[in-house]
């Protein structure tokens, strides 16, 4: 049960222990964090199973791992290791440019990225049991995560207010089934949790995403790229819990050192944008 918590990217057992001790509700076991993937270029794939298993051995909180979009076998391999969640992730290089993994047949829950309501509902239809914004991973820039969270929540409000006969056309616009849209129309919310991810670089960023309605926060490159990962991780956890206590956020933000430098989204060529992967 990760709700209201922080999920942290880790690259080895030692980082996983720091994350757990700082109060992470889960860790994402990776070979490289997104900012390094971005810097290295080339094809990014599922992590070496050794790293995933090492991390699973040392922490008692859930362990997640990433498979490439559409890479059925990477997901099956992670399932065989017994990870707690699989992230079908645009941070890795997609293996299929048309189809996502059919997640219904897996026993392990999936988390998937979404930047609008159509994507979110298509992933849920395929069997995802947790969503996250795509943001723009590895940039240290929160603007894309904000855009995705606002867009999805705005679209939900719109669907809620449509009349029933307008839902058919909206289902076509969004590229989703009528039934799943009817569920959103009636409940006024997503049937699964939606976390913020991509570009969270400060405690205030995490709190901003909670303020905008995120159910929790993923922090990728931010923590172990900062000067003092332990302190930084604790600060993010506290700011996520107390996202509307600004005095507290001020306190935990003191002397954290330099956050990751960050990249202006406008300087990224369209081909470098990870959020455009997946459909």
């Amino acid at each position: 049960m990760q709700k209201g918590g922080v999920i942290m990217d880790v690259m080895n057992a030692e980082q996983a222990k720091i994350a757990e001790a700082a109060g992470a509700t889960a860790v994402m076991a990776l070979e490289r964090v997104p900012s390094d993937i971005r810097a290295a270029g080339g094809v990014a794939r599922m992590a070496d199973p050794t790293i995933v298993e090492e991390v699973m051995k040392v922490v008692s909180i859930p362990v997640m791992a990433k498979a490439r979009i559409g890479h059925y076998v990477e997901a099956k391999v992670l399932e065989s290791l017994g990870v707690d969640y699989i992230d079908e992730s645009e941070v890795l290089t997609p293996a299929d440019e048309v189809f996502h993994i059919d997640k219904q047949e897996f026993t392990i829950p999936f988390v998937c990225g979404a930047k609008d309501l159509g994507e979110a509902l298509r992933r849920i239809g395929e069997g995802a049991s947790m969503l996250r914004t795509k943001g723009e991973p590895g940039t240290g820039n929160i603007v894309e995560a904000v855009r995705h969270m606002r867009l999805i929540n705005g679209q939900i409000r719109k669907v809620k207010n449509l009349s029933k006969d307008e839902l058919y056309a909206e289902a076509k616009n969004l590229g989703v089934s009528y039934d799943i849209l009817l569920n959103i129309h009636e409940s006024g919310k997503l049937p699964v949790v939606n976390f913020a991810a991509g570009g969270v670089a400060t405690p205030a960023d995490a709190a901003l995403m909670m303020h905008l309605g995120a159910d929790g926060v993923f922090v990728g490159s931010g923590i172990f790229k900062s000067d003092n990962p332990e302190k930084f991780a604790r600060a993010i956890v506290e700011a996520t819990t107390h996202y509307d206590d600004y005095r507290l956020i001020a306190e935990v933000s003191k002397n954290l050192g330099t956050p990751m430098k960050g990249i202006d989204i406008k300087q990224l060529a369209p081909s470098e944008r990870m959020q455009d992967r997946g459909w």
Binding site: M1, Q2, G4, G5, A24, T25, I61, P62, V83, T107
Partner: protein, 199 residues
């Protein structure tokens, strides 16, 4: 008699769901993030989440002492999933407990990892029909002291229990529309409050 007010500890976990279930069960409810808020409450739910995260934040903000005082003053506590671990006197494989109030030993993630999560209809003593129970990386009660009453078992393992003004379940009662275990707890809170008024 005015409604009882039952808080939900809101450091991490399934907070909104518990508040909804408590309100359906006829109680007033609120999210509790600061120790001062305990003063206005008749009872407290410690929700499911990650017990390491919740325990860490409870220590940080002084909730351990204040919740022990809250309970010593006659107020009931209800721990679900991670909340059960937080209430237990003994946690297998760990030196330290969190609140350490209930005379039970618990095993974390006793059913295994996330993929071993499941749902079942669980008969619970004191509730007429079985309750829909969602188990997610659930803990189990391995040993229970003489004063602990076991209210439900699953495959002969203890999954719901009560000791005086403490109630625990290893499943998540707040994730379904079945709010009868919350009603049961609201009953405990009402009883505790009326006992206090008389005494």
């Amino acid at each position: 008699m005015s409604k009882v007010k039952i808080g939900v500890l809101a450091l991490q976990g399934a907070v909104a769901e518990h508040i909804r279930s408590l309100e359906l069960a006829g109680a007033d409810s609120m999210a509790v993030k600061r120790v001062e808020q305990l003063d206005e409450l008749d009872g407290l739910v410690i929700p499911g989440g990650e017990s390491t995260t919740i325990g860490k934040l409870m220590r940080k903000y002084g909730f351990i002492e204040r919740i022990r005082e809250f309970h010593a003053a006659g107020r009931p506590l209800f721990g679900t999933c991670a909340g059960l671990i937080v209430l237990a006197k003994r946690i297998e494989g760990q030196e330290e407990s969190h609140l350490g109030l209930m005379d039970i030993s618990v095993a974390r993630n006793a059913f295994g990892r996330q993929r071993e999560s499941f749902e079942t209809d669980l008969p619970i003593k004191g509730i007429d029909e079985p309750v829909r129970a969602v188990f997610i990386r659930a803990p189990l009660i391995r040993e229970a002291g003489a004063n602990v009453e076991v209210l439900a078992t699953y495959n002969e393992e203890m999954v719901t229990a009560r000791e005086g003004r403490l109630l625990v379940s290893s499943f998540h009662p707040e994730l379904t529309d079945d709010y009868r275990l919350h009603e049961y707890f609201a009953g405990m809170v009402r009883e505790a409050r009326s006992g206090e008024a008389k005494g």
